[in-house]
Symmetry: C2
Subunit: 332 residues, 2 copies
Amino acid sequence: MNIEMIRAAAARLTGHARRTPLLSSPFLDEIAGRRVWVKAESLQHTGSFKFRGGWSALSALGDEARRRGVIAYSSGNHAQGVAAAAREHGAPAVIVMPQDAPAVKIANTRALGAEVVLYDRVGGDSREAIGGAIAAERELTLIKPYDEPQVIAGQGTAGLEIAAQAAEVGVRRADVLVCCGGGGLSAGIALALEAEAPELRVRTAEPEGFDDTARSLRAGRMVANEAPSGSLCDAILTPEPGALTFPILRRLAGPGLCVSDDEALRAMALAFARLGLVLEPGGAVALAAALLRRDEIEGDDVIAVATGANVDPALYARMLHTHGQSPARTGH
Amino acid sequence: MNIEMIRAAAARLTGHARRTPLLSSPFLDEIAGRRVWVKAESLQHTGSFKFRGGWSALSALGDEARRRGVIAYSSGNHAQGVAAAAREHGAPAVIVMPQDAPAVKIANTRALGAEVVLYDRVGGDSREAIGGAIAAERELTLIKPYDEPQVIAGQGTAGLEIAAQAAEVGVRRADVLVCCGGGGLSAGIALALEAEAPELRVRTAEPEGFDDTARSLRAGRMVANEAPSGSLCDAILTPEPGALTFPILRRLAGPGLCVSDDEALRAMALAFARLGLVLEPGGAVALAAALLRRDEIEGDDVIAVATGANVDPALYARMLHTHGQSPARTGH
């Protein structure tokens, strides 16, 4: 895992992934007590940064492997990133999803051209057993969501953009807060910044109760979460840091940050009112930390990566009811 | 009013206005029956394209006039665009607003550094009389919302970007649908495209009952709307086309398009689900026309300008309740 892999991934992604904008608002600056820059990966294809990793992995395959196809386990953003990238590569994609996943997520993944294989999560089916049998029979390549070098390389291309965009707006030194599940995006960005903008330092942002990376960084070894679920931030609930990603973060990342679900909702409301961005809870934790953890951050600038927009409309409407009126509504 | 003014405005806006992205989604393409490209001016500073015109006008002033300051009448997006541009130029700004405007809009305009002067719309105060007296006394420059060459030039810079971005994605020929109130943005984009991408043709998009531009284009002369209000699309309700903008549109624009409020809400829901973009009703009518008027549009591609994001959270939540579930929710 090195910067050359990220640069190579960036070359493969050119013209396919979006260079997402770096946004800001004086109203957010005022809340944070410093300048806040938001890297809007929620505007990436499929509504999250996962398209970068999916494209990187697909485009790194040999022709033969690509022709046979790929497989992924996910009912979320990784599924869609892989499905969309596979379709554009003309590669078959099998996505193994729990049969109790929302019908519309299943429909969407199918609409992106993937073959969806359902398993009975509640009844005790093993998705690895089901997926493994299909992968073996059809010689599919498994694309893991974060512990996969080409996926980390793909996510790291966001870091190359952050380095360039920070320079464009005159920011040389800042904390770069990244919403963190398994750590693929955080690790990729950390490697990119180490090479391109070493005074920009990655710090992970996680939801309360799922701050395995923050605790692991403090402990100096991998520590797992106690609960498997129980946060609104569904996109970034992973049991523990990745085996590939954690050593990178341990070497390069600053102390991890942690916010509550309610703070994530507040950040979503502020992104709505001040940036015109739809964010999902797990995609808003870095912005929440940038805005609401001012005493844990140093310097005149902070960069927050907004990682995803795939949120249930009913949840979003509830968020607007509970948090939409507190930040002044228009303006930006 | 000519292309050189737009190019000069673009030079003045460089590094200040955002180059907003051109977004797309296969799900939108499927609805529209062709490729749909969304120019996301809702991500511009202050949440609408109006910042361009405000900046263009402020930056075109001489030092002396800028020192004295500017005045604008508006409780909406133009107010904020002018206020933000004036603040960054160190110029005093007076915004004349009705005293029954939402408190939060008044607070926001003040927070952007403007001096807000309230008038009693219901009691019959004339904002022109009040504003005119202040302007005369303090020698302020009036910045009109659309019938103002430097404002049209500023809005036209979005057209230069559309020409470049369409070329980047390989689109040479398409209708460019623009949400239209007084026509400043439509006219500016039309002039820019005439010079830079003559096979991209501007077409205005308006709400039902407020299609003065479409009817004027059909009639070959300026025709006014019957009602002064009565649409959700508050940002683009103007009594009739502008005296400067209409001749430009008459020469360059194709037939105007018109959508219902309900169709604007549908487009807002699709922008939420498929693009991660917050749009206000008046900022969504061009996208609504692109998606829902397929028989009135020709060609393989259509470009829709999404013009604003400043929407009341309660209205947005209602939109999600009524329209949020019909488009499949995640995916993009």
